[in-house]
Amino acid sequence: MKEIVLTPTRIEGHLTVKVVLEGRRVVEAFTSGTMYRGIELLMRGRTLADAVFLASRVCGVCSLPHSLASVTAMERALGIVPPPAAIILRNLMMYAYLIYDHILHCCILAGPDYAPPHGVIEDLKWGEGKVFLEGLKMQRKALEASAIFSGKFPHSASIIVGGVSVNLDPQKLFTFASRLKEAKKWVMEVMIPTFEKLHEKYSSELISGEREANLITYGVLDDTSLDPARRVFKPGVIINGALITTDLFNEIEPYVQEDTTYTYQGRELGNTSLEHRKYSYVKAPRYRGYVMETGPLARLWVNALLSGGKIRVETIEWKPPRKPNTVERVYARAFETAFLCSRVFDEIENALEMLRKREELVTWIPWREVRGESSGVGLIEAARGALKHRVEAGNFTVKSYEIISPTTWNASPRDKYGKRGAVEEALVNTEIQSNDPAVDIVRVVRAFDPCMACAVHYITISRGSPEIRAATISA
């Protein structure tokens, strides 16, 4: 029996991991989100229009989905339906954002795990590999496309309750499309072959991160009807590999419960020993009591089951694996990049169609200040999975605010039944194959693309000690 405590770098947010090894197998795992900033609390008392700008500051990596989830929640609370042109513009920003985030994660953050000195994929080598260096340029290119409409990234300016402040015009659309064409060419010709190679090499070799196929996704990229069932990525829940529902508002959202048995309450700082009953600032959301995983793998899996068991992008095809594992998580993210790069051109077509109608394009509709109480929820997907923002509003101000971010699902601690969170489940039964066990552990964790919803990144480790002393904070 050997204990290892470490803090992975090159992830978003603050996560400390403790594992217990027996021989070359992980037999026990704890993930501890040790962060608290209290963003939800400081949003109270702000106007709904201002709170969207604060919500974006939850995370600098996925600020756009936070803006969009927040603005959706506000609009629902106010009874506003954003105009069709605004929906299309938000989708364009979102496509480009997702492509950026996936390239950043695949090529810069997680990719080097599989390159020398720990792996064999030379192209992903940190600071030297071809895909690493070109990936840096391409994530920039994709984000430029997103910023054409969002004003800037991180922390978009143009997403405002009631629509967007930016106009849809052909010139912007043209420069947007041109950038994504370049990104698409690179993704299909360089990135996908590299990750196919990685998949081929490691999928049989690496016994890592396997867990049951319990997956959840809220779906993302609305069409102008705003019906969740018509999103590009459909909402859905998979239990043990079977799709049990796709009904977002009646069957998925109402059955999400949060467990706080192992979660610090409020400012209960300091009890950071893992032997202590409470060991994380992350809550434990469960769907009907099941531990769920969220992310690109969940999105692709649900979409594949809804479209005859596979997804095709040009010449490449994706089929659900037997069970989720580390390599499948990494590959799903790469494949989804290709899927997005191809589907974004449909959305550009939609935008062109709208321009062709030559009507005056309204992108923002004014709100009326609603007196009295109301509430709203925004359920979308960030790059790393299902994201929920919920607002209780009164007299146009925020009364209370709640965020459940993707990593809340993935890096949750145990619940009251003692069931481990998804990353913890994935760590258990992982086989240590490298000379340094930390390499294998960090691979499992990073494949989930952890983003502790606003990263406070601090970091102390005492290896072999039972205590995690890195107590930090965030929402």
Binding site: L6, T9, R57, P154, A157, I160, V166, L269, V456, I459
Partner: protein, 320 residues
Amino acid sequence: MKELKILWLQGQGCSGCSISLLQSSYPSLEEFVETSLRELKININFHPLFMPLNFLDEGGISKLLCDPQSDNFLFIIEGSIPTRDSDKNLTLHIEGEEIPFAKYIEKISLKALAVMAVGTCASFGGINALDPDLTGARGVREILGSNHRSRKGLPVINVPGCPPHPDWILGTLLDIILYILDIGTPIELDEYNRPKRFYARTVHESCPLAGFFSETIFAKKFGEQGCLLALGCKGPVAYGDCPERKWNGGVSSCMISGSVCIGCTEPGFPREFMPFIYYPPKPLPLIFPPPASVVQLYGLYGRSMWEELLKKKTRLGGQA
């Protein structure tokens, strides 16, 4: 060849400043770190997102610095520093001892050639310091004291913005490096220790919509052409050259995308700048000529009044 190390630490933040830095196009970050100036090689030794190191083990960051040879480094901090429960909150190991983040920063800053606070959180506390301010979030200068000077005699240099423009970060870094090499001009700072190179003028002064302001054409709703002052734009009272520099490879900026400036480079952000958006729009008095006086009557205060107000309200107290 001598090596200049860069140590980039994150406090309470969202990594937005790091992501902004990754978006720098010319030079790109990867190009910047390969640069050699005179006999100096620039090397990012620690950055939580941008480094080859896989994970941190015992000794962690301090191992990179405890080496007596290794005090040839610049210290960059992103994110605010918690002062409440600071012994339990954000602690770090140094020479086998566990100390609060604030103490760690004090200790490391003594050895650093220069200390730079990147982003509004690290500069002034930023969004984390918004009431109820649960964690007692503070900026670096407040932790070190406004009289702090680095080994090269530089005060804490603030590069605020939520996020700061990558040019501001790399440009200031370059200025600092040139200063260290004794080949640059002195770094001119304003009273909040922001480099004047980037923060000397208001956002309004370089705003592409400023022409509408002088023609008194004001947008009454979003998506309409015109100056956005009536909808809540804080451009006249926020400092920074972002509208002319533009973001993400120069594709857009807040006002170009039709949205308002929310004053994210200022010590009072976000507290003093809310509501960000005025809707229904605040009616503007039609006085000619419009500048300063309109802004003042309008309730946004003129430049000097604004500075007075900030001195009173911020904890910095306007110390030089």
